[in-house]
Every structure is written in structure tokens, then in C-alpha cells.
């Protein structure tokens, strides 16, 4: 986010008032800091300036100086004489400079905007009723502000292709495109996949993919988000739900350790889409296409919907009671998860202390795309380090667990979400021990488990993750969990309380945070959940600088140590 | 007692009569309900019940549709509805009295009619004797005694329902009964004073006597208008008719004493109310409107045979029916009194008026007795 006060401030005159803005800032953003809006289409704060829509026209002037002496020329009353640029200039192409004068509300400026709107609407279809953008469309918004309400254009409108497939996830409605080129610049500059361009001229200009190419990269859906109109549409979300029904919940993408900030849009408990939320320190305004599809897992066939005891459907109470009897006075091992939230990892660690359990943790690693899909495919590996669930950097296998099992050191194993077989643990070794499985989906381990307690996906609970740059970011429950299921922390708290018999832990999120913030050595010291509900907090991760983190240099991330191969 | 076929015949006849009477009164009560619905509809610009039909009867040309339009079959449907409604007994009631109450309300209404003369028949010799189930010498006292029992049904219902509205209804009803019973009794005294002047052949308190005293002479309504008015008003109050329907009072008591009653139990209350009206009208006809006799000062125009008997009964019924209509008419004309108004009318208006009326007639009758030439 733009932080006031840190950078140099300059004074500009905005519609007659002197205001302070950061030096060199783009005028569109600077004006927005002071509650005014310069309407714009092609400008995007995180893309290069194209200046082709002309919606942002304003009047601008600078203090005049004497050409010979360089002295400032003053009016009779001593104020500096302003040299107004004779024609309106585009705001997006202007950076603030000291003493600059700007008019964003003059008659000329309004005239310009009305003129631009009329031109933009000349060939624009009357599509709002069937347009997915309706309700969040810049063209609609500015048309209500600056449109004339009727059309003077008597000729026939252009008819262009309505359903061009640009890629597997993006459909283009050419008629609605206002040729702002945001999508083209995004593909070039952010996704680094230059596939889009305009062909033909004038009002026949059309957006297309270059021959033989398609918009298939993992960031293609960001073009849909930044398209100011309904030209680029998400094939998945197309015609599914009008945006004004959607309730937006601030969330964090759980796909990888990049920790993209997201908005989860749901209606009546059903998620319809996930979009990125701007955070200039983490993900700018972008996220991956694959991260947007995660919500589909909520309803997948392999979702665990009810507790199992000995693979028979049972009640949650029975499953908890069965777990307690499997844990009491047994040699316990705990396989934690880097996909759990910070709070869950903390409580799991408490449970480990309570049962004097051995702790195991594995990582999930993949290709790093150098943008927002990091090599660490878990959202919260660093959380495990901070909460003490992991003391060393986890490997992709659980060989240590395999050894302990071979030696017969364990009676009962609590597994959180992981598949042991996938982590190279021999299935035969598991036959002598009891497994309590806590997880959202079925896997080979859950089918072996004596007790299965279903848990909730990140969309159905609140919590926090620590991303690759040690940003602690909270997320809120977006949709209600499956009927009859409890959030993970409630389950863990009940287990701990039952085993302990004394301490009455509360499963309330803020109460858990109170406990976590008590430890004086933890980076979480003194924090509470409400501190980072909106914006993340950067934690001090210097303690773990030497660990072999797998992430590579990417958007807003610099690796701390060289990747060591083991 | 010796077995006597004559007596058995007498007994059988009485039983037959009794059943006929009960049937007649109940039928009239049922059709009073219909009349109430029809008349109220007409007075309000509506048409009233006109949908119930009997199979076949409905198909008779003209007559069928005419009867249907009159709603003739409606009471049948109403009765069936009450019978087939789900029988609900609230959990909080006192069961025994709760079930007893509707019966207690209905029985007095049916009992009073045993002493009501409703016509006369003529033997071969042309001597007439009244048609009556039990010709009591003290008929009117019997009526007063029995009909007042009806209020026990209401009080019982109110009390046994064990809930607030019925309870209030019950209380109101007993207070009202006490207030108006007095005026009613007092209003009739002058009538009997008048009828039973010494030398007059009518026995003091016999209803038959009263009727025959009006034969071929003025109706008592004309001789004793104030008594008639007081009696009528008190009759309204006794039968819980608007403007005196305090115990029911839908607007403030949600139905009052029968709030907790449903199905046939409610039906009995309902019929009892109308039975009271029918019997009340009959009593008023008997006492003030000359019973089965034709018009004031005009001798019965019908022959002294069975034809005359039937015409007399018909005439009696016609008068009664008119009174029932009057009851209904009043109901849809006058709004309900407030409860304090009911009490004040009863105690501060009617009672003094009845007393004054009594004194005046006592003086009048005494004066008349002193001057024999003026015997009415």
C-alpha cells in the first residue's frame, strides 16, 4: 500500500486546495488519496501507462518561471503565476511535481468526460442485462456519471463476435471491448506471456490472440479482473451469478506459500468465484488461475462429510471419545500439516505436549513460476516453524516416521490431512498402529484410519497463514461449514481438554491468540487476531534465515538463503 | 298403581308431544341461525348463505334453486360441520364441568317450553282446551326458575375453561343475570295483577290464563307497554343478545365463555343461545302478544275445529317468528353497550322504572277494584 509520510511529500494544488502527496506519484493515484476520483479505464497502478482511453483528461498547470533567469514569476499579490497547459492533459500520464495545479472538476474536464463517454458508447452494445460485468463495470458507473442518457448515434452499431475463446478459461465478447489494452499490457508485463494484441483499425479494432497462440497461462483470469468492462469474461463464472448477489469475504489463497490476498464471493453459502485482493506488498492485484479453482474442492466427491469410527459412520461425540481412548496413556505420534492454520498448528503442538508425542511434518514442493506460485505448495510452512510444530525444515518424505514405526515406537498416530503412503511410508508399517485422521478429504491414509474426524476447508473457517515473506495474514470464514462438522481448532481444543482434564481451553479464535501471544520468544508475542484481519503483519523471521527454503525469487520475494540440495 | 291402558296411552302421547316439541324448538333454533345470517346479510347489502344444496332436491326446477338461494339447507351443513369437527379439549380445563357446561346451558331452554301453551284444540262439543305439555298453575314462576339456570352453563364454562377470557365472560354473565332478572320479575308483576283481578276467571300465575285473558280483547302489550318494554329489554339481556352480549363479546373477550370450546360442544352452546331466543320469543308472544289469538279486540276468525287449531298454532308461530326477527333486527342495528353501561341501565334505569311501573299499576288496579263498573 502507498504509505504516507515515508516518502518525500510535495504540495500540489488540487481544485484550489493545497494538498500533500508523495513525490512523483501518478496523478490518478495522488488525487485518489484525497478523496477525489479521476475516472480512468486504461490506467492501472500496477501496469505501464498507455494513455489511450482519454477518460482521465484534466486541466493542469505549473508555476511559470522566467526563461532567462529561472526566477519564479509571481502575480501581483505575490502568489506564483500558473502556466496552464492550453489543452486538457491525461491524468494517468502525469506525475505530481511541486507546485503543480490540477483541476479535476472544471466545466472543461466534465465536457471532456462526457465527450469521451459518448464516443465509447457509440458502438457499445446494450448488453448490461446479459453482461457479467454489470454491477462492477466502470463503463456503467461512468455512464451514469457522465453519460447523456440517450443516444445521438442514429447509425447502426458495429456487430462483432460475441463469444471468442481466447483460452481455456477466458471468453471474449468483442463488442464490449473499449480497447484500453490493459489485458495486453498485463500479459506482456506481469504474466510475461505476450499473446494478445489488437487487429484492424478504428472502430473495427478487435482484440485477438496472436495466430497460433492462446491465452492459456496460469494468470489469464487476471485479465478478466482488470478489464474495466465485460469484454473479457471468465468461462467458469460466465452467466453463473450476478455480482450484486455476491457476499465478499477477505481470504488468503491456500495454494502456495505466496499467500495471495483474495476475495471469496459467495451467495447463500455457495462460493461462485475467487478474485485477487490488492496488496502491494504480497500479490499486487494478481493471483493464479489455479488458486481460483480451489473452491471446487469444497463440494468434491472425496470430501469427508461425517465422522467415521472403524470406517463406520458415527457421531462426532463417538469419534472424539474413540480418539481419546486411543490417545490416553499410549505412545503417540503426530503428523502435522503445513496446510493447517497458525492456530491449528499451535494447538496441535499443545496436543503433542499433552500426549508427549513425537512430531512429524512433511513439505509439498513443486515448480516455482517466479510470480505467485511458489515452490512451496503449502500456505503455512513458516507457521509451523513459528508455533514450534516443526523444528527443522520439513522434507517431502516422512522417512523419520517410517523408521520410528519400524522400531515399534508408536501405538497411535494422529494424522492431519497428510497421506502417509504418498510421503513414502510403507503401508505395512501402519497395520500395527491406530490412526486418527483429521482432514477435509479422503485419501489412502484416511481409509486405513480407526477414527476419521472431518475438518473444514479454509473457506469454511477463520484463521491465519504465514506466507513466504513471513507476512502473517488472517482470513475469515466465507461460507458455513458442512452441517454437523466443527472447525479444526474446536476439535483440537476438545481433545486437549479431555486429555488434560484440568485446563479449559477455549476454541474461540481470539482466546487462542491470547495464549499464543503470551510466549516471549515467539514472533507472535503481543499480537491479537484483530491486528492483522485486514492487512498482514510482517513477522521477524530472521531466526530461520539459514533454513533451506525452496522458494525462488519472485514477485515481492527475495530468497534469504541459497537453496541447498539434500 | 293399577295397570291402566288409558294412562299408558296418555303417557305415550306426552312423550310423543315432548319429542315433537323438542324437535320443533331445535329446528326453529337451527333456522334462527340461518335467519340471523340471512337477515344480517340483507341488512348489509349481501346475499347470505346460498350455496348449500341437497342432491336431488337441488335439481327440482325452480323450487330447488329457490330453496338453495334461501340457504334452506345451510343449518344441516352447519350441524354436520359441528359434528365432524375435530374434538379438541385444551389440557388446562376441568374436564367434568367443561363437558357439563354446554348441557347445562341447553337443557333449561328446552325445559321451559313444557309449560308454554301454544294453541288450543276443540272437542266435539266445541269446548276448547289449551295445547300445552304441562299446564302448571304457576307456569311463569316455573319459567323464571328454570330459565335462570341457563346462566349456570355459562358460568360453568367460564370457570372450567380455566383461562382468562372465559372466566371474565362467566363473571359478566352472572352479574348481568342478577341485574336483569330482578327487573324482569318486577315487570311481570303488574301483568299478573292486572289479569288476576278478583272475579276474573284466569288463575293468578297460569300462562293459559294470561293468553285467554287476551282473547277478544286488548293485548297486554297495549295495556302494559312499560312492562312489555322492560321485559323485552331484560329478555335481550337474559339471552345474551346484542346489545347485551357481554359474556361473549368477541371484540374484548374473544368469544368469552366459549373461547375454549370447539366442535360439537361449541355447537351446543350455539344452539342453546338460539333456543333461548326461540323460547324467549314464545314467552313474550304468550304474555304480551295474545298467544295464538288473532288480533286485539278481534275474535279468532277461524272455525272451532282442528283447522282452527292448526291456524292458531300457525298464528302463534308467526308471532314468535316475528319476534325472532326482531331480535336479529336489533342485533344488527344497535352496537354493544359497554359493560358499565349494561350495569347502570340494569340497576339505575330498568329497576326503578319497573318499581314505579309496579306501584302505578298497584294503585290503578286498587282503584279499579274499588269501582266495579270499571272492570276491564
Amino acid at each position: 500500500m502507498i504509505s504516507k509520510g515515508k516518502t518525500d511529500q510535495v504540495t500540489i494544488n488540487l481544485d484550489g486546495n493545497d494538498v500533500e502527496v508523495p513525490a512523483g506519484m501518478n496523478l490518478v493515484d495522488a488525487v485518489a488519496l484525497h478523496g477525489k476520483e479521476i475516472p480512468h479505464y486504461c490506467y492501472h497502478p500496477q501496469l505501464s501507462v498507455a494513455g489511450n482511453c482519454r477518460m482521465c483528461l484534466i486541466e493542469m498547470g505549473t508555476p511559470m518561471r522566467d526563461r532567462g533567469t529561472g526566477e519564479a514569476i509571481v502575480e501581483e499579490d505575490g502568489s506564483p503565476k500558473i502556466g496552464w497547459v492550453p489543452k486538457p492533459v491525461i491524468g494517468c500520464g502525469t506525475n505530481v511535481s511541486p507546485g503543480m495545479h490540477v483541476k479535476t472538476e472544471s466545466d472543461l474536464v466534465t465536457d471532456c468526460r462526457e465527450g469521451i463517454m459518448e464516443f465509447l458508447l457509440v458502438n457499445h452494445p446494450l448488453d448490461c442485462p446479459i453482461c457479467d460485468q454489470a454491477g462492477e463495470c466502470r463503463l456503467q458507473e461512468f455512464a451514469t456519471d457522465y453519460g447523456r442518457g440517450y443516444s445521438r448515434y442514429k447509425e447502426r452499431k458495429n456487430v462483432k463476435p460475441k463469444r471468442t475463446r481466447l483460452g481455456p478459461r477466458v471468453t471474449l465478447d468483442d463488442e464490449r471491448c473499449i480497447l484500453c489494452s490493459r489485458c495486453i499490457r498485463f500479459s506482456q508485463e506481469v504474466a510475461k506471456d505476450d499473446v494478445l494484441g489488437f487487429v484492424d483499425r478504428g472502430s473495427f479494432s478487435t482484440l485477438t490472440c496472436f495466430p497460433g497462440k492462446e491465452l492459456a497461462n496460469n494468470y489469464s483470469l487476471n485479465t478478466v479482473d482488470i478489464c474495466p468492462v465485460g469484454a473479457l469474461t471468465s468461462t467458469d463464472f460466465r452467466f453463473k451469478m450476478r455480482v450484486w448477489f455476491l457476499k465478499e469475504t477477505m481470504s488468503i489463497c491456500a495454494e502456495s506459500s505466496a499467500g495471495c490476498n483474495t476475495l471469496v464471493s459467495s451467495r447463500e453459502g455457495v462460493i461462485h468465484r475467487i478474485t485477487p485482493r490488492r496488496n502491494d506488498a504480497v500479490n499486487d492485484s494478481w493471483m493464479t488461475d489455479s488458486g481460483r479453482a480451489l473452491y471446487k474442492r469444497i463440494d468434491s466427491d472425496d470430501r469427508l462429510k461425517f465422522p467415521l469410527v472403524d470406517q463406520e459412520k458415527s457421531s462426532l461425540e463417538d469419534a472424539l471419545a474413540a480418539s481419546i481412548s486411543l490417545l490416553k496413556d499410549k505412545r503417540v505420534g503426530i503428523v502435522g500439516s503445513c496446510k493447517s492454520t497458525v492456530e491449528e498448528q499451535y494447538l496441535l503442538n499443545r496436543l503433542a505436549k499433552e500426549t508427549k508425542a513425537k512430531k512429524y511434518l512433511r513439505g509439498h514442493f513443486g515448480e516455482d513460476d517466479g510470480i505467485l506460485l511458489s515452490a512451496d505448495r503449502t500456505p503455512n510452512l513458516r507457521g509451523a516453524l513459528i508455533t514450534g510444530l516443526a523444528s527443522s525444515y520439513p522434507k517431502e518424505n516422512l522417512n523419520l516416521l517410517g523408521q520410528a514405526l519400524k522400531k515399534g515406537q508408536l501405538d497411535t498416530l494422529i494424522v492431519v490431512g497428510e497421506d502417509l503412503m504418498d510421503a513414502k511410508v510403507d503401508a505395512e508399517l501402519l497395520s500395527d498402529i491406530q490412526i486418527i485422521y483429521l482432514g477435509t478429504h479422503e485419501n489412502a491414509t484416511s481409509t486405513l484410519a480407526q477414527v476419521v474426524i472431518p475438518t473444514l476447508t479454509p473457506f469454511e473457517k477463520s484463521g491465519s497463514f504465514v506466507n513466504r515473506s513471513f507476512f502473517l495474514q488472517g482470513f475469515k470464514q466465507a461460507v458455513p461449514g458442512l452441517a454437523g462438522l466443527l472447525p479444526d481448532i474446536s476439535i483440537l481444543v476438545r481433545l486437549i481438554n479431555e486429555l488434560n482434564g484440568e485446563a479449559e481451553l477455549s476454541s474461540d479464535l481470539s482466546a487462542v491468540w491470547k495464549m499464543m501471544a503470551r510466549s516471549s520468544t515467539s514472533p507472535l508475542k503481543g499480537l491479537s487476531f484483530s491486528d492483522f484481519k485486514k492487512d498482514g503483519i510482517e513477522l521477524d523471521g530472521s531466526k530461520w534465515d539459514e533454513l533451506p527454503f525452496v522458494e525462488q525469487k519472485a514477485l515481492h520475494y527475495e530468497p534469504t538463503a541459497e537453496l541447498t540440495t539434500d | 298403581m293399577e295397570f291402566n291402558p288409558e294412562m299408558l296411552l296418555q303417557l305415550g302421547l306426552k312423550v310423543l308431544f315432548a319429542f315433537t316439541m323438542v324437535g320443533a324448538v331445535m329446528t326453529m333454533a337451527g333456522y334462527s341461525v340461518l335467519a340471523e345470517r340471512k337477515v344480517s346479510a340483507w341488512m348489509q347489502g349481501r346475499v347470505g348463505p346460498n350455496r348449500t344444496a341437497l342432491p336431488f332436491v337441488e335439481n327440482i326446477p325452480f323450487i330447488g334453486s329457490f330453496l338453495k338461494g334461501l340457504g334452506i339447507f345451510q343449518p344441516l351443513a352447519d350441524g354436520l360441520k359441528f359434528l365432524f369437527k375435530e374434538e379438541i379439549v385444551p389440557g388446562h380445563v376441568n374436564k367434568v364441568y367443561y363437558y357439563m357446561a354446554p348441557l347445562v346451558a341447553l337443557v333449561p331452554a328446552l325445559t321451559t317450553m313444557t309449560v308454554l301453551p301454544f294453541g288450543q284444540y276443540y272437542d266435539e262439543a266445541g269446548n276448547s282446551s289449551p295445547l300445552i305439555l304441562a299446564n302448571l298453575e304457576v307456569g311463569i314462576l316455573f319459567i323464571f326458575a328454570v330459565s335462570s339456570l341457563g346462566v349456570y352453563g355459562i358460568v360453568l364454562a367460564g370457570w372450567s375453561s380455566n383461562s382468562k377470557y372465559p372466566f371474565l365472560g362467566g363473571i359478566r354473565s352472572s352479574a348481568q343475570m342478577i341485574s336483569y332478572e330482578l327487573a324482569m320479575g318486577l315487570s311481570l308483576l303488574p301483568v299478573f295483577l292486572w289479569v288476576s283481578v278478583p272475579g276474573s276467571e284466569a288463575s293468578a300465575l297460569s300462562l293459559v290464563g294470561i293468553v285467554s285473558s287476551q282473547n277478544d280483547s286488548a293485548w297486554l302489550l297495549l295495556i302494559q307497554p312499560v312492562s312489555a318494554l322492560i321485559f323485552l329489554i331484560a329478555l335481550f339481556a337474559e339471552t345474551n343478545r346484542l346489545p347485551f352480549d357481554m359474556p361473549e363479546s368477541e371484540t374484548d373477550l374473544v368469544g368469552g365463555f366459549h373461547t375454549e370450546y370447539g366442535s360439537f360442544k361449541f355447537g351446543i352452546f350455539f344452539v342453546a343461545e338460539y333456543a333461548h331466543i326461540v323460547v324467549g320469543s314464545a314467552i313474550f308472544t304468550t304474555i304480551f302478544l295474545g298467544g295464538w289469538h288473532f288480533l286485539p279486540w278481534i275474535a279468532d276468525p277461524w272455525p272451532a275445529t282442528w283447522v282452527g287449531t292448526l291456524l292458531g298454532i300457525g298464528w302463534f308461530l308467526a308471532k314468535t317468528a316475528f319476534l325472532i326477527f326482531f331480535f336479529i333486527w336489533i342485533r344488527w342495528t344497535i352496537p354493544r353497550f359497554r359493560y358499565d353501561q349494561v350495569m347502570s341501565i340494569g340497576w339505575t334505569k330498568l329497576l326503578p322504572l319497573a318499581l314505579i311501573n309496579l306501584i302505578v299499576y298497584v294503585l290503578l288496579v286498587t282503584w279499579l277494584d274499588q269501582t266495579p263498573s270499571a272492570t276491564p
Binding site: A134, R156, N158, D200, R238 | V39, M43
Partner: protein, 181 residues
């Protein structure tokens, strides 16, 4: 503000205090009422005359070409105060020649007549003039489900409405003979 005038009440005369004359007047009025013309409408046989702007059951209508007009924009669903409308949006297959430019149509359209308050907002808001409150007013059913009008029922109730809303036709003309490249 108007001045309040307190009127003296005239004392009641004796006859007024007995109420009897008033009661007689009342009786006369009610009695004469009995012979007035009846206002009752014999409903199932006689139907009321509906005013022009009557708002009956909301229905969906076809355009004069027999195509469904609704494009499932869900504005009616949004505006409906008691949330009686429930739409499942769907798309029109590209192959559908008749509706080439429409693209979107409701897959399912339900109006819960137990919720509807006949406010007419849906008709007011519809950008395609596809939903109308026609003069059907008597809807009844034995179950709650019966009272939910689905898409088929809504079109059956609505039928075809002759109007001049030829947006899609115009669009097609523009493509066929217009200056599309």
C-alpha cells in the same frame, strides 16, 4: 394553525335520553337496507371487472416471434422485496439461430407465490420487458411446492405479449446488412 373551537353540547332532551327514538330510526335504516340492491358478487360464476393496471400473478412472456424474452439478468430477483423470485441463469447455445445474439436465458425461473406480494417491482425493473403482472389472481394449491411457479408454468401463464421491443431483431439486422466487417 387553525383555532380550536370548543362547541357546547346541547343537553339531551328527555326523548333523546330514553334512546328509544334513535333506536327506532336505526331500526328503520337497517330495515330499509334489506331491500336495497345487493353488492355481493357471486364469485366463481361472476368475475370482477379488473382495472387496466391490475397487478395479478407475475408471469413471463414471449415476444411476438415466440422467443423467450427474459435474459436472466436477475434484476427482478434482486429487487423483489420478499425474495420470491429465484433464477438459475443459463446460456443460450450458440447454435440457436433464433436467438443468435441473446446468449443468456434462464435455465430455471421460479416465483414463489406464497412469498410474492404482487408489488410489481419485477415488472418495473425488467430491462427486457419480459415479466408482467397479468390479470390472473386466483392461484391455489394443496402443497407449498404447488405454489411455486416454475419457468414452464410462468410462460404458460404469460403467453405472448404483442409489443414493440425488437432489440434482438434490430441487432440481427445490423449484423446481416449493417456495416459489420
Amino acid at each position: 394553525m387553525a383555532k380550536t373551537v370548543v362547541l357546547e353540547r346541547k343537553p339531551l332532551s328527555l326523548s333523546e335520553r330514553t334512546y328509544l327514538p334513535q333506536i327506532v330510526t336505526g331500526l328503520k335504516t337497517t330495515f330499509s337496507n334489506m331491500f336495497k340492491e345487493k353488492a355481493t358478487l357471486q364469485y366463481p360464476e361472476e368475475k370482477p371487472q379488473l382495472p387496466q393496471n391490475y397487478r395479478g400473478v407475475p408471469t413471463l412472456v414471449n415476444d411476438p416471434n415466440g422467443r423467450e424474452k427474459c435474459v436472466s439478468c436477475q434484476l427482478c430477483e434482486f429487487v423483489c422485496p420478499p425474495k420470491a423470485i429465484r433464477i438459475t441463469p443459463g446460456s443460450v447455445p450458440e447454435e440457436d439461430e433464433d436467438r443468435e445474439h441473446v446468449e443468456k436465458a434462464p435455465q430455471e425461473f421460479e416465483i414463489n407465490m406464497l412469498r410474492c406480494i404482487y408489488c410489481g417491482y419485477c415488472q418495473e425493473v425488467c430491462p427486457e420487458e419480459a415479466i408482467f403482472l397479468l390479470d390472473e389472481y386466483s392461484s391455489s394449491g394443496y402443497t407449498r411446492e404447488e405454489m411455486i411457479n416454475n419457468k414452464a408454468k410462468l410462460y404458460e401463464l404469460g403467453g405472448t405479449l404483442p409489443d414493440k421491443h425488437y432489440k434482438w431483431d434490430k441487432k440481427k439486422d445490423a449484423e446481416v446488412e449493417g456495416n459489420a466487417h
